[in-house]
Symmetry: C2
Subunit: 398 residues, 2 copies
């Protein structure tokens, strides 16, 4: 959900078709690992299938060191199209720079000189962890359409394996934005004794009809792309992947990530190319969305995108647990619930519902941003203050 | 933007592919005219092309009679996927019942026993007026991709020809919702002496970046459909039209037409088919959007849809007129500007901008609805009262 549009210039090579987009931008075994470390998990059960399981390799990154008391570990859970690269620069196997550099790093609120920070790419993702682009263990061909439909609970179970592996009995904090915040809440419900605090930023405890509706159009656009081939596009003879469908999905999603006010103030009715009265003219906001569509297609995988949609759609912390409040009743840790006032995808009411279900008197911290949902990446001062305050409280309790 | 979902059952025949959707649901010359009357206009100029023009036949309907004083004529301007069938029932050449039956008809606020009510399908539409599905005058083949990209101003010029033809020197009222309201404002700017009052319902005087953004994803989805064939799909050997792409466009649009609150209250996380945890499960809100996608594909034409998007995107009453206030300075009539409080596609701020630009102290009438933009079709009491009040004022001035 980054937004470095100002630095973008159209890529003439691509427009002329000289350098086609990849069928998938997934990181594959054998690619440059960069900062990634790996953990093999055998037989991860699948919530959607009582008999189902999958062997996965989790790609994760760490920053700092676990102290002797083992009480300084922070898990950062990435969002929908995020990955393990929370902090750092792009290059050497990482397609993008750290997606939360403002919050995580040396001297930052989640100070990697002080905390042992961990982030893994989710199961089904496309930046190192086993996902649809990876080889199937039986035939060695890409999983493709055969890849299972995981839930956020499955992903959290994999994250718990990683905690075990790293010797983290209990996280000082599990924090994430958007789909990452959903997993933070799942951690509190599933492993209340292993989480001393959660940070749920711009998120919800149960995906709403509205959010499912936006996802429906995105799913349909990807499936409509003839290059999607039902999900088995990796070995296509022409090398083409469903980047147009994936791009449309991104354009829809990106619009929901921003606010009406910001789009209007930033682009208005300005023309980008030619005269918009003519059929080949283009408004600036159209060019902006094209840019974000293209950019996502160059760093993501359509099958992974559909797995993330499924995981978000099925997100309901209260499912099978007697409802939301009952699901969270056992959580005794601290909680930071942050809403962005202009967020229309995860509106304030979602955060209020979550806060009301958490034990204790949790108040929603409302941050002001003109930008909408993406405000958690762009307008960071209020977020930084809130996270610093939370970590001070957690430390004081030790 | 109707919403009779409750009466819908999945069509097994279609699901099994026994009865394919039409390539286009456009009304074509030779089809049953129903209530349609026709007016030929030669050489309608095109704003987008100083040398361009098109011969068009306008399909229109009328209700009631023009009185001797010729002061009882009301023009109703239809919205994006609307047509001339404002009032009445479905059947006999009309695919849908009257889209504004609550407001227009015998004994209704726009009383057809008292007023001479007129509505024409816009140029480029698909319910009788010349549009992309119609035969090109030179070769007799469908216009398809060759059909010009008209603006709302072009459409209003055609409507003025119709007024001339009907002997209407001045409308007592030009009223419309959404894209119809845009044309009502265009009438006030272009022919101030021919309009005694306008009604602009849930609309804007200039399309915003946000609205263009939603249209961009819809356009891309239609163009991505392989059955679109660049717009020349009418004579395709397999008879298939781009109804999947058109359906996705509709699903996006329909979500913007409703409110988050309504979708959540009405559908929540309810399952429609199977277990949504499984890949073949389906949430109720997904089924609802599928229904609306399918329904539009059975009554519309993808090329017309793209022409409507172009007309809406280029809508800017102030363009080439020194801005919005200057464009409307000559209008001395009455104005009703109505916003629906839950409308997120044409939010209150759009109506406020329009009202502020109109001469005199025009106040926005804010109607309450839980539904969003579509509230103008569903929650009609406040709308009816406001229109009755406006017509009383107009009559008192005669």
């Amino acid at each position: 959900m980054d937004d470095d549009y100002s630095s973008w210039v159209p890529d003439a090579e691509v427009e002329e078709g000289l350098r086609p987009l990849p069928a998938s931008a997934a990181w594959l075994p054998g690619d440059e690992p960069g900062r990634r470390q790996f953990l093999a998990i055998e037989g991860l059960p699948l919530e959607s299938d009582p008999l189902g399981w999958i062997d996965v390799t989790l790609a994760y990154e760490t920053w700092g060191h676990l102290n002797e008391a083992r009480d300084n570990a922070v898990y950062v859970a990435h969002a929908f199209t995020g990955d393990s690269h929370v902090s750092g620069v792009a290059g050497d196997g990482h397609l993008t720079g750290g997606w939360w550099n403002g919050l995580v790093g040396p001297g930052r609120p989640i100070d990697t000189d002080r905390y042992f920070v961990v982030c893994a790419n989710v199961v089904g993702g496309c930046q190192g962890t086993t996902g649809p682009a990876h080889p199937h263990p039986v035939d060695g061909l890409p999983w493709g359409s055969r890849f299972p439909w995981l839930t956020l609970r499955d992903m959290v179970q994999a994250e718990a394996h990683l905690a075990d592996h790293l010797g983290v009995d209990s996280w000082a904090l599990v924090i994430g934005p958007s789909m990452g915040g959903m997993r933070a809440v799942e951690w509190a419900a599933t492993f209340p004794e292993r989480v001393r605090a959660i940070g749920a930023v711009g998120t919800t405890a149960e995906t709403t009809a509205e959010q499912i509706a936006w996802n429906a159009a995105q799913t349909a656009a990807i499936r409509l792309d003839p290059a999607f081939r039902g999900g088995d596009y990796y070995g296509a003879a022409d090398g083409a992947g469903p980047y147009l469908g994936l791009g449309i999905a991104r354009a829809i999603a990106h619009t929901t990530y921003r606010s009406e006010q910001e789009l209007d103030a930033r682009f208005g009715r300005r023309a980008q190319i030619g005269d918009p009265l003519a059929p080949d003219g283009m408004f600036a906001v159209e060019s902006y969305l094209d840019h974000h569509a293209d950019k996502l297609a160059r760093r993501f995988d359509a099958n992974s995108y559909l797995r993330m949609i499924h995981a978000v759609n099925t997100h309901d912390v209260g499912r099978g647990r007697g409802g939301l409040a009952a699901a969270l009743a056992g959580f005794e840790g601290d909680a930071l619930v942050i809403a962005i006032d202009s967020d229309r995808l995860y509106p304030l009411s979602n955060s209020e519902r979550l806060a009301a279900a958490l034990p204790g008197a949790v108040e929603v911290t409302v941050l002001h941003s003109d930008i909408g949902h993406d405000g958690f990446l762009v307008d960071s001062t209020g977020l930084n203050d809130a996270v610093e305050g939370l970590l001070r409280r957690v430390q004081a309790r030790v």
